[in-house]
């Protein structure tokens, strides 16, 4: 367990470290800005009436939002890794998981290289080990 003195951390070093984790997009300000409308779109699905309108015509509903075409396609395709790349945040995208009526863990599994049954099996056996997945730079 690494601990360090709580002195002011250099913001550039701090942000660079966040990009050094394999298979992970930390929700930094940069991503939050890029995905602002995408996350607000997802948030709108908290409302039952909006969910119905979205389900009736996904493309028409999405077109009401100022998203770029790449973001729209990623959402329509439920390509969640792509959504993360374009600024989506999983807690917001979760509104789409529940609109689709799929379990959270199933949606999460689509971001891995496993099927949902394989992913569930991995979790039942104790989950994914951090070994080798801590740092891209340090290969540990």
């Amino acid at each position: 367990m690494i601990t360090e003195n709580p002195t002011h951390q250099d913001i550039h070093e701090y942000l660079a470290e966040l990009e050094d984790i394999p298979g992970t997009r930390v929700f930094t300000a940069k991503r939050a800005r890029q995905g602002y409308q995408m996350n607000q779109f997802a948030m709108s699905l908290m409302n039952a009436e909006n969910r119905d309108r979205f389900k009736a015509d996904e493309r028409a509903y999405i077109d009401e939002w100022p998203l770029n075409e790449e973001q729209k396609q990623a959402l329509l395709a439920r390509d969640y890794n792509k959504c993360l790349d374009l600024g989506g945040n999983v807690y917001f995208l979760a509104k789409l998981f529940s609109t689709d009526g799929i379990p959270f863990a199933e949606a999460v599994s689509t971001m891995t290289d496993m099927s949902f049954p394989q992913y569930r099996e991995m979790m039942m056996k104790g989950g994914r080990s951090p070994e080798g997945l801590r740092s891209i730079r340090e290969k540990r």
Partner: protein, 296 residues
């Protein structure tokens, strides 16, 4: 005088709410998780806290991307369960304690913690799942709740050190409230889990248990864990554990553990739970905990 009598930490996985709401809490999958809270439910009945200060994070329910408060305290009379996309959880409304909450808010601000004040909001699984785990399914929650929401979604969240210091200031605030109140502080979220990207499903049993160990006794080394350590070792959502440090900071210099539970998995997440007693000569050996230990 109000006093902090205990600290509780617990994961707040939404699926636990679904399990209890649908009566699946004793099946093969959820049984071992809920069994680890049986001790605490008996203990809480004996302890009868008047107020729980419940540290949690909102998951895009009350707050969207429009406003992102780092630390926000609920000063309202009442909070209802949020609709998180599948209808609100069928749980009682959460009753606030505006007198205590406003007192704490003022005291924290004078102590240089620039709190956001919330008068109206809905509360999501981050707050209601811990209530279900600790109190079961009552008609009404047995105590009042002061919600303390922490941003752990948009980076950077507050540092562990800042969270610990907020806990220390919280203790001072509670102890300067004139009414006799039995107050508990709960820290929720965690333990290791990652809900996104190809690394999803990460669990680190060893690290989690070292973190649980670190909450007990007099060491304060946990406050010096940097964000990157949580992210690398416990997954992107493991960062929620900084919220446990607010609870730990509120316990004072030394704690002892009354109860501890750890289980993998619940959905994508490692379940961790601990009950702490401040151990700084407060004389808090209440008959309540003896009763609960006897019931075990």
């Amino acid at each position: 005088m109000a006093r902090i009598t205990a600290g509780v930490a617990s994961s707040h996985v939404p699926l636990l709410g679904v399990a209890t709401d649908q009566g699946k809490d004793r099946d093969d999958y959820f049984g071992p998780i809920f069994a680890g809270y049986d001790w605490t439910r008996a203990w809480e009945q004996a302890e009868k806290p008047d107020v729980v200060i419940l540290v949690y994070n909102d998951h895009a329910s009350a707050f969207d991307m429009k406003i992102i408060p780092t630390f926000a305290i609920g000063c309202g009379e009442r909070y209802t369960s949020a609709d998180e996309g599948w209808g609100p959880r069928p749980v009682p409304d959460v009753e606030g304690h505006p007198d205590l909450a406003w007192h704490i808010a003022q005291s924290l601000i004078l102590d240089e913690f620039d709190m956001t004040i919330i008068n109206e909001m809905d509360v999501d699984h981050g707050l209601t799942v811990p209530l279900s785990m600790m109190f079961g399914k009552p008609e009404a929650w047995p105590c009042k709740v002061v919600p303390l929401a922490v941003n752990v979604v948009t980076y950077p969240p507050p540092s562990g050190n800042r969270c610990w210091a907020l806990g220390e200031a919280l203790r001072k605030a509670v102890e300067s409230f004139p009414e006799d109140l039995n107050v508990q502080v709960w820290g929720t979220g965690g333990m290791s889990h990652q809900l996104q990207g190809p690394r999803a499903g990460l669990i680190n049993r060893e690290w989690d248990n070292r973190f649980l160990d670190g909450l007990i006794g007099e060491s304060d080394h946990l406050r010096r864990i940097p964000h990157i350590e949580y992210l690398r070792e416990t997954g992107s959502e493991g960062i929620e554990m900084v919220m446990w440090l607010i609870m730990r900071g509120a316990m004072g210099r030394k704690t002892r553990a009354l109860h501890r539970h750890y289980h993998v998995p619940c959905s994508n997440t490692a379940i961790g739970h601990i009950v702490l007693r401040p151990d700084n000569g407060e004389g808090l050996d209440m008959t309540g905990s003896d009763h609960a230990i006897a019931a075990e």
